[in-house]
């Protein structure tokens, strides 16, 4: 793959914020196109893994038909990576905390530890540890 992903946890107690940084792997500069109108990144690539290594199934899945498609084309380099922020809210719900993202929602158990990564067939990001 021509690029690699790095993720960083910037979350607070109520806000789920993960910064995703895309950098070229080999070339100095790389043409990079990004569009996420249907929030498929959150729905398809973001993986939340519990302590046992199981990938969590979303509690809610939302299919979005956007009014218009928007895409972005940039040249990325190690000095100028492309950054996308996955943003959501964390809402307490009894023994759980609901993670609400635009296209998916998860129920996470309070006091448990989760790992977060971005994963598709070819690319895997670093993994973040997330204590609820």
């Amino acid at each position: 793959m021509e690029y690699k992903r790095k993720i960083k946890n910037l979350s607070t107690k109520t806000a789920f914020v993960v910064e995703v940084m895309y950098e070229p792997t080999t070339a100095e500069k790389l043409d990079f196109e990004f569009s996420n109108n249907r929030y498929l990144l959150e729905k398809n690539i973001l993986k939340i893994i519990d302590n046992n290594g199981n990938i969590l199934h979303p509690e809610t899945i939302i299919s979005i038909k956007p009014i218009e498609s928007k895409s972005l084309k940039v040249i990325i380099s190690n000095e100028k990576p492309f950054i996308y922020t996955i943003s959501g809210t964390l809402i307490p719900e009894g023994e759980f905390v609901r993670l609400k993202l635009p296209s998916v929602e998860y129920l996470l158990t309070k006091g448990k530890k989760y790992n977060i990564e971005l994963k598709d067939q070819h690319n895997l990001s670093n993994r973040l540890v997330f204590n609820m």
Binding site: L10, E19, N36, R38, I62, K65, K70, T85
Partner: protein, 855 residues
Amino acid sequence: MSKMNDLIEFLRLGRRHDEAASKTTVVNQTKVSATAIDTNEERIIDRTDFNNSNIYKRIVGILDNFGSTHFYVLPLSNKRIFYIKLPATNSGNQYLNLEDNKSEHVADPSLLEPIEINEATNEYFYDMIRREVLHTSEILEETNVFLDIVFFNPEKINIESGSYEYKYSKPITPLYKVLNMLFDIFKYIISSIVSSFLLAFETNKNVEITVRKKGSIYLIPSILVVDEKTFCINYYYTSSGKKMFYQISDEDIAIKLRFDDKYAFLSYLNATIFSQDVFNYSDTGNSSRRFEFVENFQKYIIAPMERKILSGSGYSGDFREAMTTLYYLTDSVALSIDNNCLWRLFEEAIRIGNFANTQHQASENIFIKLLEFIAEKETSKIVFLNRFLQKTEKKITYLEFLYDKLDGDNNTQFVKFIHKIWKESIYRETDPDKNRFITAQSPVLLDYRSSKKLGFHVDNAAIDWNSDSELIEIAIDIKTGTTYEHTTYGLGQAPNTTTEETTVLHNYAYHPFAPIVILNADNPTFILKDKEQQGELFTILPAFVLLAREKKAFWENVVTAGEYAIDIATTLSGVGNILKVGRLAKLAEAGYTFTRTTAKVATGVKAFVGVVEVSSGAGNALIKLLDINDTDLGREIARYLFYLEMLSLSGELSVALHNGLKKSARLLTNSKNKVKIEKKLDELVESGKISSAEKEELIENLKKMADGGYNPNFSIINEKVRLYWTKYLTKKGVVIEIGTEEAKRMLNKRNADGLFIMRGYNSETNSFKERIIYLHEDPSTSAFLEETYHALQSLEGVQMYKDITYKGTLYENVDNWEFLAKKRILDEAQQNGISYEEYLLVEKQLDEVLKNKYY
């Protein structure tokens, strides 16, 4: 300057005062230098003495009155006597002694030494001690007193008997002045080409002037109205003053002006007499000529007008003539008109109700002038203001009626004027114990906040006029002091959390003249600022002015935002009332059909796309529909009307506006609204508010305009297909929300056309508890089908992501649901009636799904 203007300037009553004043300079020296005119000896005079006109007598009035060209000095052994020559009379060589102002007979004029008057007449004065005439280059500080007499020499001002054109200012607005000027140019060009036109256009000479020999004349003329087309002004020689009235003949008239137009006659009198500071219409002092002049003006002009109006003949020509006459009257003259007559004009203006400024008459401007006259005369401000609370035949208060009728600057002037009068009335009392209009429902202190951000006026209130209760309703958001955190999320950006203050909505209802106090610091850009209260901490205003601010801000925002304001504007309360009195309403009321052409500019060439036409009948019916008792539908009607209003205000229709209009029409003609609108139109026909022809015109108009679909180029889901899938999915437990408030909220939050949500995943059964479809009202075919297919995919357990080979190419990790749904839409496009443009869009989206770029 034309000869007519030269004559006016010469005869202007205050001319010599103005000339003397313009030469006056402030001098600080303690001494005044002067020269004796007969010996050329210098005299140094103490300024204090010089300012004493009993010692140093001013003679400018005498010199001017008699048109003196020379002083005459009689040298005697013990003194020298200074004279000026008096006009020739039967009694022979008459001279005026400058020492005592008495006329004397000089038996042998050859003894007199003439000294020419070379300097300005106000630079000469008579020294009562030395008994000599002195000249000073320093200007006399003393206010000069001029008699209403001047020496007239027709040759000196180069005027002779003949017909002249007198161009005077007419009561038309600047815009129409330009139009009239263009028309004049057009006439000139035509007349240059076609000589026969010349005669036709040489009829502008509206005044006949007859002048006689030179001589001293009275500046106060006598006036005579012969008939409706003959208005005479005569200037008499002063010599006529000694004659009995039966001895006076045409020979005594130095200048005779005969106007064939009343308004030219009035303009002339304004220019020469009424506008002059030295003339007081209500106090003519000891001058019998002034008294007689005012008496005649009252007799020939004011009294007949009062009689016609107060007799209540109802003849509209009398009313129009009186209103036009008002325009030509100076304030002091107009104030002599009977107050009942002015009020009658006011009532009649409202009854006729036509205030529009036209090419021929600035009716609005004249009406404002009438209000000013009435206010000036009406000693009780409460009586004045209460008159505005009376109701018209249509059962609305004069205040609301006039507020709606008066446009632009005149509207602002009207509001400011009412505010000014209101401040002088007891309505402005802010003590709740003394003012019954201050109640719990109309508190005097209002936490109203307004400002201007990025060119837009914003405030924390929705203000509207309730025509039924005649109260001004104010819904205001007031901050509570408690805060909450608000987080916004953006693509590629960290979430932005801001702290916002919780607000509570209060609903109040004010009498239009109830007092409201707002803090100036909270309203830095208040549009209708009261200059008198600008330095204060707060402004006191009647509720009516707050309403006016809302309307003015609204239109300023529309001008700033253009077509983008429509969506915002139609969600505001009060927009209906604005539209009811807008340009479209006025055109419809006047029976006009308006058309606008749609044009788009492509590579510098205008391509015409279509024409929008709205008949007066359709316009009338639409405006009546604004009162429909259905919030959503009412808003859509307002939106449609708003588009039309924008079109009526702009010369040409943009493609974007055209599309917006089509979309709005499509919404109004969907199955649900169509039934509601037709029902309401039937009710309006039954109650006689609109004719059945108007109803048909509107239905036809909407149908024509709607041709093109919700998205101008998209189809709307076929009713049969919609019913089929709705029944099927509902039976399977899928909730379908189309056009509901929740649907709007969910869709707007994600900027989406459609959503399918699966909620409540159960890992044991591997299924979801709820399935919900959200769509906008009247969804396009593709949006409806896509969400339907997602629901089916969910029910059937179709795999969500997989590698797909399509048209020989392998695509990895594709959103399988999206792919299958879009593919099916394209495959079944023809049978579902999808438009060509919609097909292209879905095809593009399918490509995007395959080549996903979200990484």
